[in-house]
Symmetry: D2
Subunit: 107 residues, 4 copies
């Protein structure tokens, strides 16, 4: 039986992965933010010439679905590593942001 | 007493927030991917003129720390909403990607 | 009477502008590429929630037209400065790329 | 003897290239802005793990120099096509922006 996945566990796996390859030296906040934006653009690239309707159907094609899932993973990997080196808890940050947005955009 | 934060709970809050403002109509995968990349670039903007060393100290300044945390939240918000509309589990996607990377980059 | 604008003249103005403010120290190719991508994302931000049809009409609104024109200028400014520090002639690079694309995508 | 390259001539080549392949249907301002940001990120990708000093030497390696030049061309191609569909003169836009910046950042 395996534990359910959680953010802290994935951050540990990512940190171990980087440490085992001596890659932490590259993981300045500046570089991780750049890498995050590059991966986000690779997601955009999948959608760039699609109509809104076509973009809503990307998961129907197994190859595209795999590609999208892979890029989502890359974005999350760099976001979690950036949070790790900066000492930010991403879920708490998002929870607080939704609170602020609820006050900023009242229904 | 509040439950600990988790990804599924935050996705529910984000979906409720968008539904209450009738914003789901804008949330095509194409638009959410673009919004994600825009927020990732707002993170890059904070670091763009900093040296690697300065970038490692951004959290020491409270205003910059708040700004970085806020942008991290925005990136995560759009990533989770993109995953929701596409039916992707982001933690499972990342776990599988780390597995693949361990085979691709052996120690 | 003023000369017609050209790329070399604008690169000279940009270089003088940066030199007069002692900003060249920040203009590493890495930083200029990041700044270019940040400005490109500010262009994307203008369009991110628009339908394709709405995006085709952005110049009809004077405020949006001004904003788009301003972001186009920022993208071009960083592209020309990047080319300057790297010794790339942007028009020759594009001309050669169109040649390659004509062979790669025959009619 | 060939004419010297200019922006208007390159825009004409790009427009002819797209028209011959029936690609103008994809060239909404929204899509071109996204494509521009994707190409800008491909430039960033080349520099993302480099130190500032390494980034200053990218043109010393012929393969990297070719890759950088190619991405610069792609960014310029989408910028010129975006300007074409929006009716923006990019050189005039940049000239006016430098004027504004000179007032905004006095020496």
């Amino acid at each position: 039986m395996t534990d359910p996945l959680d953010v802290a566990g994935l951050q540990r796996r990512l940190a171990d992965f980087a440490a085992a390859r001596n890659w932490q030296q590259y993981h300045t906040p500046k570089n991780l933010a750049a890498a995050l934006s590059v991966e986000a653009s690779e997601l955009v690239e999948i959608f760039q010439w699609l109509t809104p309707e076509e973009s809503a159907r990307v998961m129907a094609d197994p190859d595209t679905a795999h590609r999208v899932t892979d890029e989502v993973a890359d974005v999350l990997a760099y976001l979690l590593q950036l949070c790790e080196v900066l000492g930010i808890d991403p879920l708490t940050a998002l929870d607080a942001k939704i609170d602020r947005n609820e006050r900023r955009f009242p229904i």
